[in-house]
């Protein structure tokens, strides 16, 4: 941790300026996996708003109209339960992957990691690797430093602005947004959100970096609750590595009482959160495996076996077998799979129709001249699909009940229809004062698309 100035009276400041971390670039299997992950995730992020579906933007979250358009399907505020379920699935998925493979999310998929990685590539490209960057920062301000810093920040800001633009493009049609930027004709809120997300990208990926993981991220703090001795962690093999120490490549180090660790500090230099993995498992470790990659390289250069720092489990370290199938993983898997199945079933069987039945309350019921009983209702019918449809209305639940009013109507996409109607039922068929009645709406031509709404039909006491 950073050293604050401490004077003779031993006053400790509980807040300190954090030391800047200069991670060395790393090559290896896990670095390649991360690059693939970054390319896939950012590729999706930047390209997805440009896809079209049925001549509309494939993914458009239209907040002012309260409609989410996803690949030809429109989701309404009534569908929020699906989003809730999706978030629950994401959470359980995170639990499952954490229980099996530790902080997989942090190391390869978290936006903080993904964008920081990209920003570090830019930094590396402009300012060079770790040593060059450290030297540049220590240098007096001069032409080279000004030039390199300006270019770096200009590239960062451009990339951040493009990120902010893309983000807003999920909520406002992205092509129109581009035209709006070119003609400077966007509304104040669009400018604000583009600006805010650009600033957040620039600040988080360029400056805050590991500070977000160490001091802001809630997952970093509670993920240990999902860990057990069979969870994959990145660990330094202390038995094999100690005593650490420098030595000549071909020397017989074991006779000098040394272990396999040559104390080159490469694992510390590549660490994006600035820790020493040899101190053991720490909450700062985001499991990016950069130290694994770099140590493999060092070991192979030294001609030592690989795996001084490796993915392992606590049980495996103690020489016990690692159990992948255990109560925790089985429970999470069961939950994960069943929630996904429920989600798929719900979305597949979703009727793009919303019906609200409101019974007129001012008059419990009306008695006709012939002694029949009438109740009056308002049906609010919303067509949640993207096409104009025709519907038929029918009743069940009360014997002999008939509808006085329209029973066939058409609705254009997104239209809400108020359908006032009266239901008449013969008095002698009503067995109770309060009867359940069901309004069924069928889309003409689609027998399976049936929506049923329950309401009450009131009658006199018998």
């Amino acid at each position: 941790m950073a050293k604050s100035k401490r004077n003779a009276t031993d006053v400790i400041d509980l807040y300190a300026k954090q030391d800047k971390i200069y991670p060395r670039q790393v090559h290896g299997l896990f670095a390649r996996l991360r690059i693939l992950s970054v390319l896939a995730l950012l590729g999706f992020y930047y390209l997805a708003p440009w896809f079209t579906w049925n001549e509309k933007q494939a993914i458009l979250l239209d907040l002012p109209a309260r409609q989410f358009h996803l690949f030809g399907v429109t989701f309404w505020p009534q569908d929020f339960i699906y989003l809730t379920l999706l978030l629950v699935i994401c959470a359980v998925g995170l639990f499952l992957f954490t229980a099996i493979a530790g902080r997989l999310w942090c190391g390869y998929a978290c936006p903080q990691t993904v964008w920081t990685e990209t920003f570090m590539w830019i930094e590396q490209f402009v300012e060079g690797d770790r040593n060059k960057r450290m030297r540049l920062d220590k240098k007096q301000w001069g032409a080279e430093k000004i030039l390199r810093k300006t270019v770096k920040h200009a590239l960062w800001i451009s990339f951040a602005l493009f990120t902010g633009y893309t983000f807003v493009g999920y909520f406002t049609p992205i092509r129109e947004l581009w035209d709006g930027i070119l003609t400077l004709s966007l509304g104040p809120w669009e400018w604000f959100w583009i600006g805010l997300y650009s600033l957040a990208t620039y600040g988080n990926a360029g400056h805050l970096r590991e500070q977000v993981c160490l001091h802001m991220c809630p997952y970093a703090r509670f993920q240990s609750a999902m860990f057990d001795p069979d969870t994959l962690i990145i660990s330094y093999d202390e038995q094999r590595g100690e005593n650490r120490g420098r030595r000549k490549k071909s020397s017989d180090y074991k006779s000098q009482g040394l272990g396999d660790c040559i104390d080159c500090k490469q694992c510390v230099h590549v660490c994006p959160t600035g820790i020493d993995i040899r101190d053991g498992l720490q909450y700062e470790c985001i499991a990016c495996a950069a130290c694994v990659d770099v140590c493999e390289n060092v070991m192979s250069q030294m001609g030592y076996p690989k795996g001084l720092i490796k993915y392992t489990t606590e049980h495996s370290e103690l020489g016990k077998p690692t159990k992948f199938l255990r109560a925790r993983t089985l429970l999470y898997t069961t939950l994960f799979v069943s929630l996904i199945s429920i989600f798929i079933y719900l979305v597949a069987s979703r009727t793009p129709l919303d019906v609200n039945v409101i019974r007129d309350r001012n008059n419990l019921f009306t008695e006709t001249f012939s002694g029949d009983i009438e109740n009056t209702y308002q049906l609010k019918v919303l067509n949640m699909s993207q096409t104009s449809n025709e519907y038929t209305l029918s009743l069940s639940g009360v014997e002999g009940a008939s509808i006085i009013g329209k029973t066939r109507f058409s609705l254009s996409a997104g239209e809400v229809l108020t359908l006032p109607l009266r239901v008449r039922a013969p008095r002698d068929k009503l067995t109770r004062r309060s009867n359940d009645i069901f309004f069924k709406i069928n889309q003409v031509g689609l027998q399976q698309q049936r929506h049923t709404s329950k309401a009450k039909f009131l009658g006199p006491a018998r």
Binding site: R6, I12, Y15, Q18, H215, F369, T376, P420
Partner: protein, 293 residues
């Protein structure tokens, strides 16, 4: 707020802000700890290491204190001080209502000069009229406008006060007041029975013709004044047509007798203030469209 509560609030708010600042300042550093790894704090045998929080974390606290001062200058918070933006819930509500009027009024105004007969054929206009109807009129006339006992059915061709567009609109805008005077003290039970039979006959029900004849004599002497010689009613008085078997207050013999004896009073309240001209026009078009499609 009285002067006392004004100062009460101001002092508490100021003490809180200063207190937060003092607390931050007080807990920022610890004295007397030996230079080393731990701060000297021990809780249940757990030692606190000196792992300082980032400086920007502390600065965030100071920034929120400055923010609160800015807020108190701009918005109400310090007792009776209204804030330099003079924001209030009432102002905000009024601004939103004005904004809504600005948005929706042109939609209503668009149809204000279209004749009702034409308007009744425009789907958008009748849908707008319908929405106003189910919000405003459903309480008495029912959502489907088919009425309730005492409140007329607006979807049929029978009108108490006339079914022309102008007459319907007048009913809505200025309201109507219909009165059937009580005849219980004037007519004998036989006469009332006779009238009930006669009226039933007019609507095509099978009745005792002898009794109905006595009723017709009473009708021709008394009731024709309002309901007319032919009993077809008078829209100038809101007197209903008694020959069409449509009943405002139920059509059973007992109910008709009750109407004759006790009289009836019906009131349609005026909606000029509540709806305004443009919206009354749209509701009229909707009501007109129900029986003129």
């Amino acid at each position: 707020m009285t002067e006392f509560w004004n100062w009460w609030v101001i002092i508490i708010v100021v003490i809180n802000i200063l207190g937060c600042w003092a607390l931050l300042h007080w807990t920022r550093k610890i004295k007397g700890a030996k230079e080393g790894e731990t701060t000297g704090h021990v809780y249940d045998g757990i030692e606190e290491y000196n792992n300082p929080l980032p400086r920007w974390w502390l600065n965030m606290f100071y920034i929120s204190l400055i923010f609160s001062i800015g807020y108190l200058v701009l918005y109400p918070g310090l007792g009776n001080f209204a804030g330099t933006l003079s924001w209030s819930q009432e102002n905000q509500h009024a601004a939103e209502v004005a904004q809504a009027k600005k948005t929706y009024q042109p939609l209503f105004e668009k149809y204000a000069n279209t004749p009702i007969e034409e308007l009744a054929k425009i789907k958008q206009a009748t849908e707008m009229g319908k929405r106003i109807f189910v919000n405003t009129c459903f309480g008495c006339h029912g959502s489907d406008a088919r009425g309730n006992p005492g409140y007329p059915n607006l979807a049929d061709k029978d009108w108490l006060w006339g079914g022309s567009p102008a007459q319907i609109k007048q009913s809505i805008v200025t309201g109507r007041r219909g009165a059937m005077p009580p005849f219980g003290s004037v007519l004998s039970d036989e006469q009332v029975d006779g009238l009930v039979q006669y009226i039933g006959q007019l609507s095509g029900h099978t009745v005792d013709e002898e009794v109905a004849k006595t009723g017709k004599a009473v009708f021709d002497a008394q009731c024709f004044v309002c309901h007319g010689q032919d009993a077809k009613g008078n829209i100038a008085l809101g007197a209903p047509n008694l020959t069409d078997d449509i009943w405002l207050y139920k059509g059973t013999a007992a109910e008709i007798a009750k109407t004759i004896r006790q009289g009836r009073n019906g009131e349609m309240p005026a909606h000029a203030e509540r709806l305004g001209e443009a919206r009354s026009h749209l509701v009229t078009a909707y009501v007109y469209s129900l029986s003129n499609q």
